[in-house]
Symmetry: C2
Subunit: 308 residues, 2 copies
């Protein structure tokens, strides 16, 4: 019997003991803890050779990605990352220069985002593995819970085809998330790592669903080119819905706030697309609306445990 990652985590974390210091536990982008009156964010994320990068991926890009993924989770809660620990699992015969280059990519990313790397460890593993633990702070953390029927759904950037390059050079949307938190209009937010069709479900409840406008989905050029070059593979729309590693912000706001959020974003971040891609409904599940009508979406995105 095999389990997917979501089911496994649910079984493992369903009734963990916790005290009143835990404001948000398992199931959001980060844990939120009450620490001396501040909101401490706590997150861990690992990348593994053969799953999240290849043996021939440039080593600096591997290090950068390891930290940037965790930064994206801090961004999803409108937090500010502060301190990181790095666990490096290396082959015993790996060249020290290669390991140092991986670490250099990590350090450069940390410097760029003013994150202190304060320790970690090395261990021996058959596949190069980087696990980053990150803490940060959020004045007003934005959670995955809180969307309401009728909310407009927004997504930053573009979707799909990330493996052509975006997954190695994306920018965690930290400053955009801070701006959103300051607007105080976002009901719920998540960063897209496992694909829109999977991650959007984390913003829904048993009583709510989402209706996406297929023509509104911003599809990355790489996804379109791949679909064109490989007619028997995923369509560009399917790639935008199910490819992982977009590392974009997905959030909802009340319909009355949609225009002001969109206009404000465009004036502050003119280089970063923001699209309204649909709405939260009171019909559970995800539906796609196109010129021909509405149909349910049953496809899911990326599931880590199924990739091996």
């Amino acid at each position: 019997m095999r389990l997917n990652e979501t089911e496994l985590i649910r079984r493992l974390t369903c009734d963990l003991p916790r005290d009143s210091s835990v404001l948000t536990g398992p199931g959001d982008d980060c844990a939120v803890l009450d620490w001396s009156g501040s909101n401490l964010l706590f997150k861990t994320d690992a990348i593994v050779e053969g799953v999240h990068f290849e043996r021939n991926t440039p080593p600096e890009a591997i290090g950068r990605k390891a930290l940037a993924r965790a930064l994206s989770d801090i961004a999803a809660m409108a937090g500010t990352p502060t301190h990181a620990l790095v666990t490096l699992g290396v082959h015993a015969d790996m060249q020290p220069d290669l390991i140092e280059a991986v670490y250099q990519g990590l350090r450069d990313c940390a410097l760029e985002h003013r994150v202190n790397i304060v320790g970690g460890e090395t261990t021996t593993l058959p596949q190069l593995t980087l696990s980053v633990s990150l803490i940060g702070e959020a004045t007003n953390p934005i959670l995955r819970t809180g969307s309401k029927s009728g909310d407009a759904i927004f997504v930053s950037g573009e979707l799909g085809g990330s493996l052509a390059g975006h997954h190695l050079d994306f920018t965690p949307r930290i400053k955009e998330a801070h701006w959103l938190a300051n607007q105080d209009k976002v009901h719920a937010m998540i960063d897209l790592s496992d694909g829109l069709a999977t991650d959007l479900r984390h913003l829904l409840t048993d009583q709510t669903g989402a209706e996406l406008l297929t023509r509104a989905l911003p599809i990355r050029r790489a996804a379109k080119e791949r679909a064109r070059d490989n007619p028997s593979g995923k369509t560009a729309l399917l790639a935008a819905l199910t490819d992982g590693e977009d590392y974009e912000l997905l959030f909802t706001v009340a319909p009355n706030d949609a225009v002001s959020v969109l206009d404000g974003w465009k004036s502050v971040f003119p280089e970063t697309p923001l699209h309204c891609i649909g709405k939260i409904t009171d019909q559970p599940g995800i539906a796609l609306r196109d010129d021909k009508g509405v149909k349910p979406l049953t496809l899911h995105g990326y599931d880590h445990l199924k990739q091996s």
Copy 2:
């Protein structure tokens, strides 16, 4: 070219950028951070199948060990552990019941020490791997630095032969460390994970050394039995000096405080041995004193990267 873990970590972390919030960075048992005026401890530790446990190790014991090792690091700074994240690297074909049993051992240990497990993730790896990130708090953290020439060196518990069982059922010395911190007499402290001969060096500087009394070293029965059963292997003394995974406290106090610390400990923790095993000297390196005189110790303990 191969590096050992200590050299590699030194190269990777030698000039990391950090701001004033980092009170203690890489090189101690935990990082110590100034967080809203409190001392936040931050630590990560991983265990890997085939290195830290075997495929037939009872799963609950694996989970317990993963957390208890990190707790031992928090203890070494006289801290109180509070919140943990758990990264599980599992084989895609592992039975869910086995994974749940591993997690159950972890949960039981967390409950015992009032640690909140607040999240984590699962990923796919060819060897079962558990990486635990832990935060905690310390009113008066005790660092590795601070020992002075003339200090008495103490060790809790017994040393050597841990792989016969101790490494799966040790108790992190949290309450003992709290008691020591309250005495306000300890100059420097570390937990023994890589063997006395290796870890003691972390308490020394370029200007100081240590002289150990071979007859004073508390040797675990398992180490003595193994030496007796395998005359061509390690002597019991060598095992006490170089075996890893003791998870005991090693600390120094001024010579004038040695008797009061020993007497106080024995009255508060009558079940837990405490031994004075030598002194800090102004002769760099570690020396062993026995009936025949003093000789230098050049052996090191366990080095993770050399075990693969």
